[in-house]
């Protein structure tokens, strides 16, 4: 308390310090006068009396200063003085100020922008209470190189009883058909255990969530819906809790509405934007009453650790549990599969796959900022040499070195802080515009905002840059040799040799840093370019896919499409109608997995079903262990429509139906991987699940990059959609389509067959292919943008240094010209100096780039991290730019008029 009152007093003095000085003055004057009067009264002559009074009083100026300083505001007054002086200097050279402030504004703004993304995704914890206790549980079978295979219901029960977790909830992403509100809509649902919301510790805005201890069989008759769905489909009806909804023909009560902005912790955008949460205990109709251990049908699970447990402790207890289960159920857990359960921090699951790209971006933009700093340091050094005389003079008049250094630092901080403020202002106003450039799949996209930590970062970045670029010139000024500086001051200042060395060093650094960035961008560009030109193996031109989904009610008896036989007439009718649409030349139907390169669905398939594990018949197969393959269900017309040629065997035909044995068309990669050097036609494999039928290979197609653009030769099986009961469907159309009208036309046709079916996700395949590159494109464009900025800055930097060297040696060049030197020699010499800087910088840059490119190998495709072509090309471009930047001042050097130069002092 006492210090607070004391500071209040000090602060009051700061506010009234003029009055304060005047008071002190008056007080001291009175003292002196009274003393003088006393002396005069004692008989001393007036002037002697005054001198005596002064003697007794002491040095008034010093004492006044001492009194002033006692209040502790000296630093602030110095700062104010330095800042005022700095502003005056800026006004005197507005060009320099504008360049410096603009450079800083752009680079600090860009760095802060990227940081705000990193802050929202990587740094800020998940928006649930005690997020550090939240984990995701992943089942791996490393023995058969299968990861994230999902868990079975008995395993979930084991985990619940293990004492490691407060709650464990499997989560099962699915789509459903919402009918009864307006027109039928596809909704994203997440089937969870009743403890899901208790686990996340979130409360609804309306109603209630599930009872976490509820363990009744089957799907609970209540659901929780999202704020978004409540507003869009129910007009934010306040009596929503009295209403029911129909999903896949089943009726559910609405138990509660979640808070706005609540995101489910998912890996991809689809899994995060959940609209409806049904709950179940994962046994009882429509699931099995006693699910076996081997049925890993619960794709993922999240859990909250018991309080006080670290993830490492929990993991070691979990390992012990897994070991004892393996002993207890040796039939379900053969040792060769190597079953293991892994705890991953939930945050890692949500943002893990974007971490590398984001860190790359942050590094790239930080490099640009650093290069900007080096540039301004260079400009400041040039100015410092022009101001050498001023500094020397002030030092000679008694300014402390510390004060001079502080003053120069204040000036640079003034620049960087102004830059920072402008950068932030740009960011603030351009925020919505910039957000549109981010890939939609980025987790926690709508959490990105200018928070306190972002502001703090911007301020810290501004101060740090100000210190970085201000330090070199400030230290130089502090170290300047007085006599030399004053002697030199008469002539045109050429700057000390040391200063020129520092400036060269700075330019070399700048070059090295920008080369690193350019090479990183070059490698990303080449990866992207290669991916664009990769032979797809299918033809996406003029193809469009529209999705629909058949309902799957909980009671199989009322399922209109419950078997392949019941589904087939629907498929045939839709196909027949689709072929009649205007412009359509070919039509086919597949499941959504048949849409090539659909990123979200590739992941979804895994999230909602785990991976497709198959086993092979007989001992002639290469692999007698379950293996992961891609699979999709299609009609026979799919292959021609996609342009995937059949190499051997036959395609599906009418004799293949739900009564006949299951057949498959596989791609070459499948055949080569599992039956090398054999004829795979007629061979059999089956899904690695009890009771799955054998599937006979009847045809082999060429490989197509439908699963991943980056990988060729992914084993792929195509199954006949008429033999299965797949409910997530895609209708493929080829022809001269009116892409704006066709989705509506398909909707009309499909809904005239069954009016309850929703249609969604209409996209041309070219769009799908391009969307699959969205994240790569984003990081490539961003890094590319930063690299070009860096190159420009480096070019400016070398231009500045060479111009400076030329203007400093005008006199010398003049003499040489007067003595008959060739202009071309002068030009070459100046260029050589620039080239020397560029080459030194490039050598250092290449070394740095080799390091960096290996760190980013995971982001590359098709190029070696030390790709010689990229390295050589970028370096050549670099040196070209450097020479270009040096040519302007070099030419100026050759045009020097000897007469003028010799007069030039």
């Amino acid at each position: 308390m006492k210090w607070l009152v004391e500071w209040a007093r000090r602060f009051r003095m700061l506010l009234h310090r003029r009055q304060f000085d005047a008071d002190l003055d008056e007080e001291m004057r009175l003292h002196l006068e009274l003393r003088q009067q006393e002396q005069i009264a004692a008989g001393m002559p007036a002037d002697e009396a005054r001198a005596a009074a002064r003697r007794r009083f002491g040095n008034a100026t010093c004492l006044k200063e001492e009194s002033h300083i006692a209040w502790g505001w000296e630093w602030l007054e110095n700062l104010g003085q330095d800042a005022r002086y700095g502003l005056r200097m800026l006004r005197k050279s507005p060009g320099f100020g504008a360049v410096a402030i603009l450079t800083m504004a752009l680079s600090i703004g860009a760095t802060t922008a990227i940081f705000s993304v990193v802050d929202a995704t990587l740094l800020r914890p998940l928006p649930y209470p005690e997020p550090e206790q939240l984990v995701s549980i992943q089942d791996d079978l490393p023995g058969v190189s299968a990861r994230d295979v999902g868990m079975s219901e008995p395993e979930w029960q084991d985990l619940r009883r293990s004492g490691i977790f407060e709650y464990v909830s499997p989560t099962w992403f699915d789509e459903n058909n919402l009918t009864g509100s307006s027109k039928p809509a596809r909704v994203r649902i997440l089937i969870v255990a009743p403890n899901y919301f208790a686990l996340l510790r979130v409360k609804p805005q309306l109603g209630h969530t599930f009872d976490p201890e509820d363990h009744s069989p089957g799907i609970l008759p209540e659901v929780v819906i999202s704020d978004g769905l409540w507003k869009s489909s129910f007009g934010a009806d306040p009596h929503i809790l009295d209403r029911s909804i129909r999903m896949d023909t089943d009726l559910y009560r609405i138990a509660g509405v979640m808070l706005p902005g609540f995101d489910a912790p998912g890996r991809i955008a689809e899994e995060r934007n959940i609209e409806i949460w049904p709950a179940t205990s994962f046994y009882g109709m429509p699931m099995s009453d006693h699910p076996p251990r081997s049925r890993r049908n619960l794709p993922t699970a999240i859990a909250r650790l018991k309080p006080g447990l670290t993830i490492a402790q929990a993991q070691s207890r979990l390992d012990a549990l897994v070991a004892s289960l393996q002993k207890e159920f040796p039939r379900d857990y053969p040792p060769q599969s190597g079953w293991a359960m892994r705890l991953v921090p939930l945050q890692e699951r949500v943002v893990g796959n974007v971490r590398q790209s984001l860190i790359l971006l942050l590094c790239a933009v930080a490099l640009v900022l650093l290069i900007g700093c080096v540039n301004i340091a260079n400009l400041l050094l040039a100015r410092a040499s022009a101001r050498g005389r001023e500094m020397a003079l002030r030092q000679a008049l008694g300014a402390a070195r510390k004060r001079l250094v502080l003053q120069l630092l204040t000036e640079s901080l003034l620049l960087s802080l102004t830059g920072g403020v402008i950068g932030l202002a740009i960011l603030f106003f351009a925020k919505d515009f910039l957000l549109r450039f981010l890939p939609e799949n980025l987790p926690r996209l709508n959490h990105i905002s200018i928070t306190w930590s972002v502001l703090l970062f911007a301020v810290a970045a501004s101060i740090a840059t100000g210190v970085i670029f201000g330090l070199a010139p400030a230290l130089h000024a502090g170290r300047a040799d007085l006599t030399d500086a004053l002697k030199e001051a008469g002539r045109a200042s050429t700057g000390s040799g040391e200063q020129t060395r520092t400036r060269r060093l700075l330019v070399v650094t700048e070059f090295a840093l920008s080369l690193v960035l350019m090479i990183a961008a070059g490698l990303l560009l080449r990866s992207f370019w290669d991916l664009l030109r990769v032979p797809l193996g299918f033809n996406p031109e003029n193809v469009m896919a529209v999705r629909t989904r058949l309902p799957a009610p909980n009671d199989p008896k009322i399922d209109l499409y419950g078997t392949a036989e019941k589904e087939a007439p629907f498929l045939r009718e839709v196909l027949r109608r689709a072929r009649t649409l205007p412009g359509v030349e070919e039509a086919a139907i597949g499941d959504t997995a048949a849409i090539p390169l659909d990123q979200s669905l590739q992941d979804l398939k895994r999230i909602s079903e785990g991976q497709y594990l198959v086993t092979f018949e007989g001992s002639d197969a290469q692999s007698n262990q379950p293996s992961v393959v891609e699979r999709s269900f299609v009609t026979a017309d799919y292959f021609h429509l996609m342009g995937i040629p059949l190499l051997r065997g036959r395609l599906f035909n009418d004799s293949d139906n739900d009564k006949s044995p299951q057949v498959a068309v596989i791609n070459e990669a499948f055949a080569r991987t599992y039956w090398p050097n054999q004829d795979s036609l007629g061979k059999r494999f089956k899904r690695n699940r009890e009771g799955s039928p054998w599937i006979t290979v009847i045809g082999i197609t060429a490989n197509a990059r439908t699963a991943s653009l980056a990988q060729c030769g992914v084993p792929q099986a195509y199954l006949d959609i008429y033999q299965t009961n797949e409910k997530r469907l895609a209708i493929f159309l080829r022809g001269h389509l009116d892409t704006a009208a066709i989705p509506e036309e398909v909707r009309t046709q499909v809904q005239s067959v069954d009016p309850t079916l929703p249609l969604s996700g209409a996209q041309t395949l070219s769009e799908t292919v391009s969307a699959s590159l969205a994240e790569r494109r984003f990081s490539m464009e961003m890094v590319g943008l930063f690299a070009v900025t860096a190159l420009l800055l480096a070019g400016l930097g070398i231009y500045g240094v060479i111009s400076y060297i030329v203007s400093a040696s005008t006199h010398e060049i003049g003499i040489r010209l007067a003595l008959g030197a060739q202009r071309r020699n002068i030009l070459n010499e100046v260029l050589r100096q620039g080239l020397q800087l560029a080459v030194t910088g490039a050598a250092a840059g290449i070394a740095g780039a080799l390091l960096v490119s290996h760190l980013m190998a995971g982001l590359l495709y098709g190029v070696w991290p030390a790709d010689p072509l990229t390295f050589a090309g970028v370096t050549a471009l670099f040196i070209g730019v450097a020479l270009g930047a040096c040519y302007i001042p070099a030419r100026r050097a050759t045009q020097i008029d000897p007469i003028v130069a010799l007069r030039h002092e």
Binding site: D23, E27, L30, R56, F57, G58, A60, S67, A70
Partner: protein
């Protein structure tokens, strides 16, 4: 006449004591008072009173108010606060302890 510098650190004590004795004084009066009572032995470099008074203002030991002298001139009058009185006791005790110790040392045989 020979005048002695005051021992370091006792300036606060002198000012506090002087103000405690006579209530309200301006700087010149304080200086004179110290001199008079010490029978001209203690000589304060008069100006140094002022930085000391500022520090005491910051600490809250004294308050200052403008008033007029007997000759009708504006002067700043200092007055002890409650905190100042307490401080005076602290300084007195400390001073006595030090003087006591010094006396014992020089009188020891």
């Amino acid at each position: 006449m020979r005048r002695d510098e005051i021992p370091p650190g006792t300036l606060y004590l002198l000012i506090l004591k002087t103000l405690a004795r006579s209530g309200e004084m301006h700087g010149y009066e304080i200086a004179n008072s110290i001199q008079r009572i010490s029978q001209d032995v203690l000589q304060v470099e008069e100006g140094s009173l002022y930085p000391a008074l500022q520090r005491m203002l910051i600490k809250g030991w004294v308050t200052a108010e403008w008033g007029t002298t007997a000759e009708n001139r504006r002067a700043r009058y200092y007055r002890l606060t409650a905190a100042g009185r307490k401080q005076l006791e602290v300084e007195m005790k400390q001073f006595e302890r030090v003087i006591g110790a010094i006396t014992r040392v020089i009188e020891a045989v």
